[in-house]
Symmetry: C2
Subunit: 350 residues, 2 copies
C-alpha cells in the first residue's frame, strides 16, 4: 500500500479541485491510500474506504509570506501534510499551495539529504520527441553556485532513472552557447564539475545546451539555476498561450475559417493535447529527506490528479532511496573543499 498525504486546502481552488482528483485517483489505484489534510468542515462529505481525514486548523494563503507560513501557521494543512511524511505515516506529500512556503516548510521539517545544500524543483516540459524534458531548478533557488548545479544534475538523474526506463539519462547544462567557453564564471565552473562527474561515472553529461534544446529534447535533463529555469518555463507558457489564443481568434474569424476549424479538429485537438501542461503537472521537490510534490496552484482536478500519480510513482519506485544512493555514490564530487567552493563564486562579485 502506498499512502500519500494530500494538502486538500492548497491551490487557487482548494477542496473543489483536490477532492474530485483524490476520488478519481483512489478509484484508479487500488493499492493507494490517501490522508486528506485540511479543515474538517471542508472534507466532511468525502468518504472512501482508503481515505482518512487528518485535521488541520489553518490554511497557508497563496500570498502568505514564508515567514507567516513557517512561523505563524504551525497547524496549516500544508505543514500537517508534510509532517505525515516526516512521521512515516505517508510516503509522499502533495500540495498545490504557495511554492515558497511549501519549499520552506518542507526544508524545515524534513531537512536536506547529506551532500545537498539546497533542494530544487524539478518539472517536466513536453518536447518534440513526444516525451518530456526534466528541467531543474524551476524557481527554488535564485542564486546558485557551480556545486549546486552539480547537485541538481545528480538529483535530476536519479529522478529520471527512477520514473522512466532510462537508467543513464543524459544531462545538459543550460547555457548561451554550446562551446565550453561560453557563459558566466559559475556556468563554466559547473561545466568542469559536471565533466568530472561524468568521468567518475556518476553522470551522463552531454555538455552545454541552449534554450531551444529543452523543446528539441536534446537531453533528458536540463540543469539551470532557479531564476533562469523559472523565466524559461514562464516564457514558454506565455508563447504557448499566445499561439493557442491566436489560433482560436483566427479560426473563428468567419464562416469559412469556422468550417476549416471543424475539419482541422483532429489536428487542433492533438496540438492542444501536446501543449497541455496539465499532463505534466506535479514537480518534485528534490534533495529533501522525504518526498514532496508541488502541483501548479491553478491546477484543475485532471492536473492535480497527475501530481498525485507522479507522487505515487515516486513512492512506489523508492525515489528517495535511489536519490540517496546516487548522491552517496557521487559524494566525493559533491564534497567540494570549502576554499574551492569560495573560489568558484568569487568572480560573481567582481
Amino acid at each position: 500500500m502506498i499512502t500519500l498525504a494530500v494538502d486538500c486546502m492548497g491551490g487557487d481552488h482548494g477542496p473543489r479541485v483536490t477532492l474530485p482528483a483524490c476520488r478519481h485517483f483512489l478509484d484508479r489505484y487500488p493499492d493507494a491510500a490517501l490522508l486528506l489534510v485540511g479543515l474538517p468542515a471542508s472534507l466532511a462529505e468525502f468518504a472512501h474506504p482508503r481515505a482518512t481525514v487528518v485535521v488541520a486548523s489553518e490554511v497557508v494563503g497563496m500570498d502568505d509570506s514564508i515567514e507567516i507560513a513557517l512561523r505563524k501557521k504551525k497547524d496549516s494543512s500544508m505543514r500537517v501534510a508534510i509532517s505525515q511524511v516526516k512521521q512515516g505515516t505517508a510516503q509522499a506529500a502533495v500540495s498545490a499551495g504557495n511554492t515558497g512556503a511549501l519549499m520552506a516548510i518542507a526544508r524545515y521539517l524534513l531537512k536536506t539529504l547529506d551532500g545537498i545544500d539546497r533542494p530544487a524543483i524539478a518539472g517536466q516540459i513536453p518536447n518534440a520527441k513526444g516525451g518530456a524534458t526534466t528541467v531543474l531548478d524551476l524557481g527554488a533557488n535564485v542564486d546558485c553556485t557551480a556545486e549546486h548545479l552539480l547537485q541538481f544534475a545528480v538529483m535530476g538523474s536519479a529522478l529520471v532513472s527512477v520514473l522512466s526506463d532510462n537508467e543513464n539519462p543524459t544531462v545538459g547544462l543550460l547555457n548561451i552557447g554550446e562551446e565550453a567557453i561560453k557563459g558566466n564564471e559559475t556556468i563554466k565552473r559547473s561545466g568542469e564539475l559536471l565533466r568530472a562527474a561524468a568521468q567518475a561515472g556518476d553522470l551522463n553529461f552531454y555538455g552545454n545546451v541552449e534554450g531551444n534544446d529543452i523543446f528539441v529534447g536534446t537531453t533528458d535533463i536540463v540543469v539551470c539555476d532557479g531564476f533562469v529555469g523559472n523565466v524559461a518555463l514562464k516564457t514558454s507558457e506565455g508563447l504557448a498561450s499566445m499561439i493557442v489564443n491566436f489560433l482560436r481568434v483566427e479560426f473563428s474569424r468567419n464562416l469559412f475559417t469556422k468550417f476549416a476549424a471543424i475539419l482541422s479538429y483532429p489536428v487542433l485537438t492533438a496540438l492542444k493535447k501536446r501543449m497541455d501542461h496539465r499532463r505534466y503537472n506535479g514537480a518534485a521537490l528534490l534533495g529533501l529527506r522525504g518526498l514532496v510534490f508541488k502541483s501548479h496552484g491553478s491546477a484543475d482536478a485532471f492536473a492535480f490528479e497527475q501530481a498525485l500519480h507522479r507522487a505515487y510513482d515516486a513512492a512506489r519506485n523508492n525515489l528517495l532511496d535511489r536519490v540517496q544512493a546516487r548522491i552517496a555514490h557521487a559524494a566525493p564530487l559533491l564534497a567540494v573543499p570549502a576554499d574551492y567552493a569560495l573560489d568558484t563564486t568569487a568572480p560573481m562579485s567582481a
Copy 2:
C-alpha cells in the same frame, strides 16, 4: 542621404544573401546609399548607382574566437564596416557575423557612451498585442549588476521612443514574480534603481514582469541580463519551431487532414507570419558611440533586409543623439557611487 555600411561577408550565407537584400533595400529607399564591404571578388558583379564597394581582405568566421577576430583579422569585412561608422562615412553598420566578435570589435573601435559601462543587444519579440516587445540584453553580458540593468532600461527606452511613436514606453524588470521582494539581490537592487529613475522622470517603470509577460506585451521593454535574455529568446524559438513542425506533421497525416490544411491556409499563413522571426530581424547594439545592427546569422535575404531597414530607421531618426540625450538626462542616476556599486553586488558572493 542615409549611408549604411554593410558587412556583406557575414552570416551563414554571406554575399548570396546580403547582396540581394541590399539591392532590394536600395530600390525601396531612394534616399539610402550603401557601402558594400567585403572581398572584391565576391562583390564584383554588384552594380548600383547608390552602392560603393569598400574592400576588405579578410572575413571573420562564425566560429572565430573574439581574440582572433579582434587581434588577428584587422582587415575583416566586419571591422572595416564598423570603421566606416567611426570615420563618419556611414551612419550605421549592419552585420550578420558572429555576435561576440561584432560586439568586441564595435566596442573596441567605437567605445561606449559616457555613463554606459557595457553595450547591450536589444531585439524585438512579437507579442499578443500584435506588436513587439523590445527585450535587452539578449546575450552581450552574461553577468550584470543592478547599474547595468538600469543603463539597459535607459537605452531601451530611448530606442523604443525613437523607433515608434511611443514617447514614454513602459519598462518591465524580468523577474520570477511580480512582488518587489522576489528575485536575487541584483534584481532587487535593480528594482530600487529603476523606481528611483521613474521618480526622477527618466523612465516609465512598470515594475517586475515574468517570462510570459514578454508575449503578453505587458510592457514595451523588458530588461534582463544577457544570460537570462538569451535563454528566454532561444527557449521561445525552440517552442515555436516545435509547434510549427507539429502542425506540419499533423496536417500532412492523411488525405483528410491535407484537405483541412488547404481550407486552413489563411489561418496557418497568418500564424506563420505572426511567428516569423525574420520580420523582427535586426538587433541594435546599444550604448556605443555609433550605430551597429546585428542580423541573425542564418538570416535569408528577406530577414537581412529587415535589419537594413532597422538600421536605416535608427540613422534617420538620430537614434544615437537621442540615446545620448536620454543618458545625459539620467546621468545623476547612472553615476552610482563606487562603494554603493560594490555593495550591490556583494550579496552575490555570499
